[in-house]
């Protein structure tokens, strides 16, 4: 972090990588898919040039948090078996002149629900064990189905890394470090990049029939069966004009409710902790008073005093639950909310446009 010359400023993703990630993620949708990224770090811009999926291995997640979801695919990037797998794969890639540096991993998400323990632990593993300059690419399958590609790059902030290493997530620690949920991730801008060959390939795809005749068709049937009607290569993508807003909002509400549920559990945990803490504290105070009285009487009787700090042995204060989960949850809710905002802004536009079109007389005023 401090010793590296230029911090990572941007992520540049090759077209090949984009397509491979989309393929893998949509194939396994709705369960999570993960894979490794290889590429090169060029002056603070991380160029991701190839990728390969992780096999799903059934291994117990080695988590020092009990509540990590038992999802083998989501935990794959930090599984031991996969470290060997990716090392092997990268060695193979090196033989055919591919950039053979491990630069991170990718995961699929559904409606932005990627802020969870698994992602954090994976990225922590990558940033601490493999290579500090690694990123996590998050491809949101269901948002991409809405019409525009959703691919984002994240890293854990240095502050969070330090805290996570020591597992310092009690409220006292958080006060000290002044860490809040926006401090968990750093988002890096993602840029797509095409090679020359792919550029020319795409140009060719879009005007493949330069020499075909453009005579007018003789009948409706002829028109409908003409090659122009049939070629599906790179038709303009108008999915984002679609008006089906309900499924999206429904799903988002569901996810929000889930988050509220989590939040409730966390709050209850915390309240329970405080109740127990209060009770213990009371007991300790009572004990201390008793001891003080006893000592007072002993002093008058000229007897040796009893030690006053014995309570530390007798009573055990409960451990404070980690605030990490609720912090992540807040971050996740933030993510949902901004997602809804984005969606609302475009869908209200669409709806007003439709109203304006279907009721032209009302908008003419």
């Amino acid at each position: 972090m401090a010793e590296t010359p230029a911090p990572l400023a941007a992520v540049q993703v090759e077209a090949l990588v984009v397509m491979k990630i989309i393929k893998h993620c949509s194939q396994t949708f709705p369960s999570t898919a993960t894979g490794a990224l290889v590429g090169m770090d060029v002056d603070g811009s991380l160029e991701i040039t190839n990728t390969f999926p992780f096999p799903v291995v059934e291994v117990p997640a080695e988590s020092h948090f009990d509540n990590a979801a038992p999802n083998p695919a989501a935990a794959a990037p930090r599984a031991k078996a996969n470290a060997a797998y990716s090392a092997e794969y990268i060695r193979m890639l090196r033989e055919v002149n591919t950039d053979a540096n491990n630069v991170g991993w990718y995961t699929s998400a559904n409606m932005g629900n990627f802020v969870n323990m698994n992602v954090i632990e994976n990225q922590f593993y990558y940033q601490s064990q493999m290579n500090e300059r690694t990123v996590a690419l998050v491809h949101d399958v269901s948002r991409s189905a809405q019409g525009s590609l959703s691919l984002r790059a994240f890293r854990l902030s240095a502050k969070f890394m330090a805290a996570f290493k020591e597992n310092k997530f009690t409220s006292e620690d958080l006060q000290k470090s002044d860490m809040r949920h926006p401090d968990i991730f750093e988002e890096l801008p993602v840029k797509l990049h095409n090679s020359h060959l792919i550029t020319s390939f795409i140009h060719q795809l879009q005007c493949p029939t330069s020499n075909a005749s453009t005579e007018l068709p003789s009948s409706l049937a002829a028109l409908e069966s003409s090659p122009f009607n049939k070629t599906s290569t790179l038709t303009p993508n108008l999915d984002n004009l679609s008006l089906s807003i309900d499924p999206f909002l429904e799903k988002n509400c569901d996810l929000l409710l889930d988050s509220i549920e989590t939040h409730n559990t966390e709050v209850n945990n915390y309240q329970y902790y405080q109740r127990v803490l209060g009770r213990e504290q009371q007991k300790i105070n009572a004990w201390k008073q008793k001891r003080a009285q006893e000592n007072a009487t002993r002093a008058t009787l000229n007897q040796p005093l009893l030690p006053e700090d014995e309570w530390q042995r007798l009573f055990k204060l409960p451990a404070e639950p980690s605030r990490l989960e609720s912090m992540l949850n807040t971050r996740q809710v933030n993510q949902y909310a901004s997602q809804v905002d984005n969606f609302v802004s475009s869908s209200t536009g669409k709806m007003f446009a439709i109203k304006g079109n279907l009721l032209p007389n009302e908008t003419s005023n």
Binding site: V18, K20, E95, Q175, K191, Q204, T330, D341, S347
Partner: protein, 342 residues
């Protein structure tokens, strides 16, 4: 590219031992963009002295074997000299095993080369890929050529092969390549990705940023407007008798126009209001939840700002915290009922 027309000829079959007989059914090849992109990437990364590079194609076969879908590809090192070719078969096998671990549903379907030329070496490699044991036997191996010669169009061709040979010794390095039709097909999910990639095609640095929802909406609207413009220009020029009229085209356009729904203004008004309210309520609720959560976490960790003695601050902070939590829960319950209604 794909405009070539094809005539399917049953390929001659070589001498076959009894057992599974290879089919002669027509074969259609479907290529996914991922595979092509891999091939192009490999072509870029070839050694300077190599004219072409080869690799393995993986994918799926339909049940009756009449359609092969090429889904991915990986590179295999090889070297060609005047009179011999060396393919790193060990590498191919290891890589195949690695690939199948992560993609258990894909099978070996063939191989690619990045030059259009078919020569003796091609036949030799083809025979390896279509052979028994490690090859695709009894299905035909697909050979895909993607020419990547500078200054020329990229040309993709797909072949399958049939064994020919004057004598048994020559059979190993000869094969009759039969062109088969292929099509480039991509899934729904690939669409948005391809579109973003295509955005970069006219940029000087060949790169593009990922657009936000609202930007891509804008682009889509602009695109539709330009298409409508084009059609109306055409219609106008027909009306002005500058371009020849076509009844088929007219019918087509009329059909398209007839798709406009006929609805009562009152219905529209009602639906519109209902929907916009739903949308806005959800947005409002989402943001309320966000604020509440933010508030709750802030309160949990905000004791230091209260000032005063340490003991007092802690006590107060804890009380505050509890108060804040209580409010939160109340607020949340309300929200939940509202959301349920929405």
């Amino acid at each position: 590219m794909a405009e070539d027309s094809f005539l399917h000829l049953a390929r001659p079959l070589g001498p076959v031992s009894v057992g599974t007989a290879p089919t002669t059914a027509p074969l259609n090849v479907v290529i996914q963009p991922q595979a092509i992109f891999s091939v192009l990437d490999h072509s870029l990364r070839r050694n300077a002295d190599q004219e072409r590079v080869i690799g393995t194609l993986l994918g799926t076969r339909s049940e009756d074997g009449s359609e092969v879908e090429v889904r991915s590809a990986f590179a295999v090192g090889h070297s060609e000299a005047e009179d011999q070719v060396e393919v790193d078969m060990e590498y191919h096998k290891q890589m195949l095993a690695l690939h199948l671990k992560a993609n258990p549903r894909e099978v070996l379907v063939g191989w690619y080369a990045t030059a259009s030329e078919l020569n003796t070496f091609s036949a030799l490699i083809q025979n390896f890929y279509s052979g028994q044991g490690d090859g695709t036997w009894p299905h035909p191996a697909v050979h895909l050529t993607v020419s990547t010669e500078a200054g020329k169009d990229l040309e993709t061709r797909a072949y399958i092969s049939a064994p020919v040979g004057v004598t048994a010794e020559r059979a190993a390095d000869s094969a009759a390549f039969i062109p088969v039709p292929y099509e480039l097909r991509y899934a729904e999910a690939d669409k948005s990705g391809l579109e973003s990639i295509a955005n970069a095609k006219d940029a000087e640095d060949r790169s593009a940023t990922i657009t936000s929802d609202i930007d891509s909406l804008e682009r889509a609207v602009e695109e539709v407007i330009s298409m409508i413009d084009r059609v109306s220009r055409y219609v106008e020029s027909v009306i002005d008798e500058e371009t020849p009229a076509s009844t088929a085209m007219g019918q087509f356009l009329l059909n398209a126009l007839a798709l406009a729904p006929k609805v009562e203004p009152a219905d529209i008004e009602r639906d519109f209001n209902n929907h916009i309210q739903d949308v806005l309520v959800v947005s409002y609720l989402a943001n309320t939840v966000r604020t509440q959560m933010e508030l709750s976490t802030r309160l949990a960790t905000a004791q230091l700002t209260l000032g005063g003695g340490e003991g007092a601050a802690t006590g107060e902070g804890q009380r505050n915290q509890r108060g804040g939590k209580g409010n939160n829960q109340g607020g949340r319950r309300q929200e939940r009922t509202e959301e349920a209604r929405a």
